[in-house]
């Protein structure tokens, strides 16, 4: 009860700011759906082959859909330049050293694209398997790129990321023998952590297995 001299009162707000991350991602999904764009979030360590795989996907899909790429590399434009030579629009986003993309950063990237003119948006996330797991950007599918050169324990060491991916690619299987990595074992590990995930093996550099990735993504 406010006393006579006091004209103060309470305003109930009850807003949980920690839910903002997923709300932003949901809003991105809505915007993408409005414009009929499908979005794929590509995740994986630095050097696992994300950019190479994205180029392979573009090669295969370019004849039947128009594609744009958001490249989230931390500081350089190298990846963007590698993709631009394919003639698809690339938006380079500077995360300013941040270890992940988030819904807000991706939204700003989307605003620089003509969404009505594209069917597929591929987002190359920052090369880190820890933080991006907690930050949905608003993509229809999450594609996780592991490579045998990262050793045999990638799946068990990053269970949260594996659980949140829809498709896992095990790349660079041409190097499995040299690395003494058992690819079947790695695939089994991935499936054990996430029984619903689709697992595909590739040699992205040579275009091997790309068609399987396309199928697994439902594209």
């Amino acid at each position: 009860m406010p006393d006579e001299a006091d004209n103060g009162y309470d305003i109930v707000i009850d807003v949980d700011l920690s839910k903002r991350t997923s709300e932003l991602a949901d809003r991105n999904l809505e915007l993408l759906d409005e414009h009929g764009v499908r979005a794929i979030d590509v995740l994986g360590s630095v050097g696992s082959g994300k950019t190479t795989l994205i180029n392979g996907l573009i090669d295969q899909l370019k004849p039947r859909m128009s594609i744009a790429v958001i490249a989230g590399d931390i500081t350089t434009r190298i990846d963007a330049e590698r993709i631009e030579v394919q003639g698809v629009p690339v938006v380079q986003i500077q995360t300013g050293g941040a270890c992940h993309l988030d819904g807000e950063i991706v939204r700003r990237g989307m605003q620089r694209l003509d969404l009505d003119a594209i069917d597929l948006l591929i987002v190359e996330n920052v090369g880190n398997l820890i933080c991006p797991a907690a930050f949905p950007i608003g993509a229809h599918k999450r594609l996780l790129v592991l490579s045998v050169t990262e050793g045999p324990y990638m799946a068990v060491k990053h269970p949260i990321m594996v659980r949140q991916a829809d498709v896992a690619v095990i790349n660079k299987i041409d190097l499995a023998e040299a690395m003494r990595v058992d690819v079947d074992r790695l695939m089994a590990d991935v499936r054990q952590v996430n029984p619903e995930i689709e697992v595909v093996t590739t040699v992205a550099r040579d275009g091997e297995g790309i068609a399987d990735v396309v199928a697994a993504l439902g594209l």
Partner: protein, 151 residues
């Protein structure tokens, strides 16, 4: 193929990420508070009530400090900041155990995920019931100068 932002699966937050750290969190709180006060035509904000979940890895003293700094020169300058801490409470999806878990205070978890397990059956499939929030609950405000007295 409309999927989701998977809120239900994304309950873990890495400590190393700045996204919800002290300054960012303080900025978001300040924005939320000042917006609400303005919408209601309030004059000054006298008190801000916040619930801070243990999973947020935010130091309450840092949060208070930054919030005070950010509110300077606004309608919220000098407001009392009340922070209520909420422990991590979970329910095990495997065995149904329900209770509070201690969030470890170890810098290693800035670099790698902390994966809590059920104290009863060791399962890692835990549903978070509380303790992951950063909620602006309510504010106490004073009517703007010259506003009519409520009858």
């Amino acid at each position: 193929m409309r999927a989701t932002a998977r809120e239900s699966r994304t309950w873990w937050r890495p400590w190393g990420c700045e996204s919800m750290h002290d300054v960012t969190a303080a900025r978001q709180i300040a924005r939320t508070v000042l917006q609400a006060a303005e919408q209601q035509g309030a004059g000054r904000v006298e008190k801000v009530r916040i619930v801070l979940g243990a999973m947020q890895m935010i130091d309450p003293e840092q949060l208070e400090f930054w919030l005070e700094q950010i509110l300077r020169g606004s309608a919220g300058e000098g407001a009392e900041i009340e922070i209520r801490r909420n422990p991590l409470t979970v329910r095990c999806r495997a065995c149904g155990w329900e209770g509070e878990l201690e969030v470890p205070d170890d810098p290693i978890y800035h670099l790698m995920p902390w994966i809590p397990e059920c104290p009863a059956c060791r399962a890692e499939e835990l549903q978070v019931l509380g303790g992951d929030e950063l909620t602006v609950e309510s504010i106490r405000v004073r009517e703007a100068e010259g506003a009519d007295e409520d009858a």
